[in-house]
């Protein structure tokens, strides 16, 4: 408590020689201290601040450069995309043209093939009609021959009574015995 009282007492303006100006000693010491602080700030603080400012400037510049590079890259990409879009369009046009050409070729080929097949079918049909006509004639002749042969056979068989059979046998024996 006594120390506090002393301190308060020391701060008491009523204890100074002037209410505004400090003591000469305080001015000297305060001035020296202020100069020392300024020197210290100039020697130590200013380089640090300068360095920090330079670093900040470099960082900002770097970010600006990166932004510029990003912009250039974006512009390049945009250009490429525009080019690619142009290529796609031209490729699409080329493919469509090629497809149109192939379709036309297939159509022509199909028409030609169908025409040829129709012609071949017509020729084959005509040939088959002719063959059928000929075959019908041949079959008719063959059928007549077959029926004639059957009729002849039936007629011969009906005429072959036992006496005729014996005559055939005896005739065979006689013919073979006579040296055929």
């Amino acid at each position: 408590m006594n120390a506090l009282s002393v301190l308060l007492a020391a701060e008491d303006p009523s204890q100074s020689h002037h209410w505004l100006f400090p003591e000469i000693g305080e001015i000297i010491y305060g001035g020296i201290a202020s100069v020392a602080i300024f020197v210290l700030l100039y020697r130590v603080g200013w380089p640090m601040a300068k360095k920090a400012l330079e670093a900040r400037t470099a960082k900002v510049q770097k970010e600006l450069d990166e932004a510029a590079a990003a912009r250039r890259q974006a512009e390049t990409d945009a250009s490429n995309i525009r080019t690619a879009l142009g290529d796609v369009a031209s490729e699409r046009s080329r493919i469509l043209a090629e497809a149109d050409a192939q379709a036309a070729a297939l159509l022509n080929e199909g028409r030609a093939r169908i025409t040829a097949e129709v012609a071949e079918l017509e020729a084959r049909a005509n040939a088959e009609i002719d063959a059928a006509r000929s075959r019908s004639g041949d079959e008719l002749r063959a059928e007549i021959a077959r029926l004639s042969a059957v009729a002849t056979g039936d007629a011969v068989k009906s005429a072959l009574d036992d006496r005729t059979q014996q005559e055939l046998i005896d005739g065979f024996i006689s013919k073979v015995g006579a040296g055929r």
């Binding site: 007549i144 002849t152 065979f172 024996i173 073979v176």
Partner: protein
Amino acid sequence: MSLTQVNSYVAAMFEVAVANDALAAVEDEMFRLARAYETNETLRSSLEDSSLPVERRQKIVEQLLGGKAHNVTVQLASMLVGTGHVALLPQVADALVKRASSEKQLEVAEVRSAVALNEAQKTRLADALAKATGKRVNLKVVVDPSVIGGIVATVGDEVIDDTVRTRLDQVKARF
């Protein structure tokens, strides 16, 4: 069916037939049985039907030949059925006839006719064939309705055909 099997059967049958002094009858009856086997589908399918017991099939042979053929013929035919080689019957019979004929210096003359020949016709025909071919023949007559009329005779490689069937075929070919 191998030729060896046929020859084995023929050799055995020949010996048995000779031993029983029945070669002429056996070879003739075997020949006729073989022709019946060839032409009669019912007989053939019955004798070849493996679902029928062998004894039953042998009974069919015995009933078919019994009283009409030599006992040796019946036994030999029954043996073929019993051994499961009835399908060899035509080959065996033909080979037996050929061997029997060969023993007698005869050539087999197979004659096909639409109707049966009487004994006089057979004799005259055998003589005529012998004269025509220069060989003594063992005549084997087969009644074959498919010839329609007339006769076709086969002596060795020689065929003498004077059948109505052949003439009709020629007429048919001319159509």
